[in-house]
């Protein structure tokens, strides 16, 4: 069953211009953060959104939990169209969908104890009174491995390490037993040695609650480890979607191949087509015409700079947007 479907979603951010620039030119400029993307996430699935920084993956996550309002397109969550829903209508839905942010240092209120922060969602949604909420928060602290819970309950965020804080953030998101969670690079700011344990924790909750997850990451290795389906994003567009094994074994888009080439392999002799991209990610204010990868793509043909490729079905639940196929 499809839990979330996104179609042709767009979000352009207007560029702040100085007074003089505004006088000289009336034309408004936009950063095309998300430029017409579509995908579906099925219940119980872990869907990874992979791409370099600035490709619009974080904005996509924020649009889906409606911390941002899309410019156009459609988001249907659990059978409800939430594309332009008002904050008041969203509030009851927030019980079912939660987001974990990248930065565990900034996502906790510095003046609220850990326990209060975890109990907060229960109180906001009127699920439990103060005493029950406390009990449940203490239970949750044990669940995320912060023991003894009484000690952590009274602590303030600044007394915790980054990894511990991310556990608190996960506990806060999970205490509502949501159906769907957006995890926006939940481990990228955490010490490498602790990443695996945080991922394990997330996957434990995923199993316990039959959670559906949108996992946003720049790290294909992490995506491979935990996801069922992977979508690769480049400059506001999805260039390839496929089940994880299919994508890793049979990448079709040059950009996906390039990303895979940059992941170190355990077996150095393993044969893999290596693609190295030229240059840097172009400015998203004026993205290249046609296929957005064409200035960097070693395989580009003339058609690539003129015509924008559409996502094509190539079998095995595999979709690619490339003229070469």
């Amino acid at each position: 069953m499809v839990l979330l479907s996104v179609s042709n979603l767009k979000k352009y951010f207007p560029l702040q211009k100085s007074f003089i620039e505004r006088v000289i030119s009336r034309r408004k400029q936009y950063v095309k953060a998300v430029d017409g993307i579509s995908f579906i996430i099925r219940e119980g699935e872990v869907f990874s959104l992979v791409g370099e920084s600035g490709c619009g993956k974080t904005t996509t996550g924020r649009l889906i939990v409606r911390l941002e309002t899309p410019d156009s397109g459609k988001i249907v969550f659990d059978g409800k169209d939430i594309t332009f829903a008002k904050e008041k209508e969203l509030r009851p839905l927030r019980r079912k969908m939660q987001i974990i942010f990248q930065d565990p240092y900034a996502s906790l209120n510095p003046r609220m104890t850990i326990g209060d922060a975890i109990a907060e969602p229960l109180i906001i949604h009127g699920i439990a009174d103060k005493r029950e909420a406390r009990e449940k928060a203490l239970e949750m602290l044990v669940n995320v491995g912060l023991t003894p819970p009484e000690l952590f309950y009274k602590a303030y965020p600044h007394q915790l390490s980054g990894g511990q804080r991310q556990r608190v953030v996960i506990a806060r998101a999970m205490i509502l037993k949501p159906k769907f969670i957006v995890a926006d690079e939940p481990v990228s700011m955490i010490d490498v040695s602790l990443r695996a344990s945080i991922l394990k924790l997330l996957m434990k909750f995923k199993k316990d609650f039959n959670l559906t997850m949108l996992f946003i990451t720049h790290d294909l290795a992490v995506a491979r480890l935990i996801s069922d389906v992977v979508a690769v994003m480049y400059l506001g567009k999805i260039v390839e979607i496929a089940p994880v094994d299919e994508l890793v074994e049979n990448p079709l888009h040059p950009y996906t191949k390039a990303l895979l080439s940059s992941v170190p392999t355990i077996v150095p002799q393993m044969k893999r087509e290596k693609i190295i991209l030229k240059g840097d990610v172009p400015n998203p204010i004026n993205p290249p015409s046609g296929c957005r990868l064409h200035p960097r793509c070693p395989l580009a043909i003339e058609r690539c700079s003129k015509e924008e490729p559409k996502l094509k079905y190539v079998g095995n639940n595999h979709y690619v947007a490339c003229h070469l196929l």
């Binding site: 942010f101 907060e120 906001i124």
Partner: protein, 288 residues
């Protein structure tokens, strides 16, 4: 009691009680000293501040440590009881303007839009007046009394709180933890009271003590010009007014002691403010 405990708890977590510095301590000693002296006034002096001793314009002596004035009132007891008047007016005025300015700033900064623009224009035009002139105008319209002095001073300082709180609210509003609260489904009022307000409380405290220092001078100015408590209520500013006409004749003690007290009390609160802002400075917090 619950509220007091909660505030103490907050102060503790902000590190106030742990890392207080020299400025803060000096300010606390001055202010606490004056408060204690004025509270103990009946024990420290046998004279009433509003009954003549029959001894007029007597210089400082063992009997009258600060001398007497032209009506024979004992200056020492007027200084001690005067502290009560000054503190009452100044503290209630600042609390009142805080009670008005802080919520206005929160609403203005959080919601923005037309409401924000309307409130901001009113506040900015009030801020454009020199504080003493505005206080004088209000007090002159309302008439000289304790309550009116409090109102006049309170109105003058509302924009100070408003501007500070609005600015802080704007910056806190865009922080990730506020966004996280929104993602959890928290209502606006909950975000304001549980996420924004507690995080700007330290700055409000700093502005509060700085403001009291300023308000002491404004109050002294008002009563010097005869727009505060009516005589013979003991009040430092009023005593300055009486004393300044006798100063050239050599009766220096009529102005020296009330003047010194105004300076001392204002300095005390300013020191507390400075100390607080040092303690609450994020850079210091990061180190501690």
């Amino acid at each position: 009691m619950n509220i007091v405990n909660a505030i103490l708890e907050k102060l503790k977590t902000m590190g106030l009680l742990r890392n207080s510095n020299a400025l803060f301590k000096a300010g606390i000693i001055i202010v606490a000293g004056i408060i204690i002296l004025s509270a103990l006034a009946p024990l420290l002096t046998p004279y009433s501040p509003i009954v003549g001793t029959g001894d007029e314009l007597a210089p400082p002596s063992l009997k009258h440590p600060m001398g007497t004035n032209n009506l024979g009132y004992d200056m020492f007891s007027r200084v001690l009881y005067g502290a009560r008047t000054v503190l009452t007016v100044v503290v209630s005025a600042t609390l009142l303007s805080m009670a008005i300015g802080v919520p206005l700033g929160l609403i203005s900064g959080y919601y923005g839009g037309k409401v924000d623009r309307a409130i901001s224009i009113v506040m900015d035009s009030m801020y454009a007046f020199p504080s003493l002139i505005l206080a004088l105008a209000i007090a002159a319209v309302l008439g000289a009394s304790l309550i009116n002095a409090i109102i006049a001073i309170a109105v003058v300082y509302v924009p100070t709180y408003f501007r500070m709180v609005r600015g802080q609210t704007l910056s806190i509003k865009s922080l990730l933890y506020v966004e996280a609260a929104r993602a959890l489904g928290a209502s606006d009022s909950r975000i304001i009271t549980r996420y924004v307000f507690p995080n700007l409380l330290p700055t409000v405290l700093v502005v509060f003590s700085m403001n009291i220092a300023d308000a002491i001078l404004t109050e002294a100015g008002l009563s010097f010009l005869g727009f505060s408590v009516p005589p013979p209520t003991p009040d430092w500013g009023a005593d300055l007014r009486v004393g300044h006409s006798f100063m050239l004749a050599g009766y220096w003690w009529l102005v020296a002691f009330p003047g010194l007290m105004i300076m001392l009390l204002a300095t005390g609160f300013a020191l507390i403010g400075e100390g607080l802002s040092d303690i609450l400075n994020p850079r210091r917090e990061a180190v501690g």
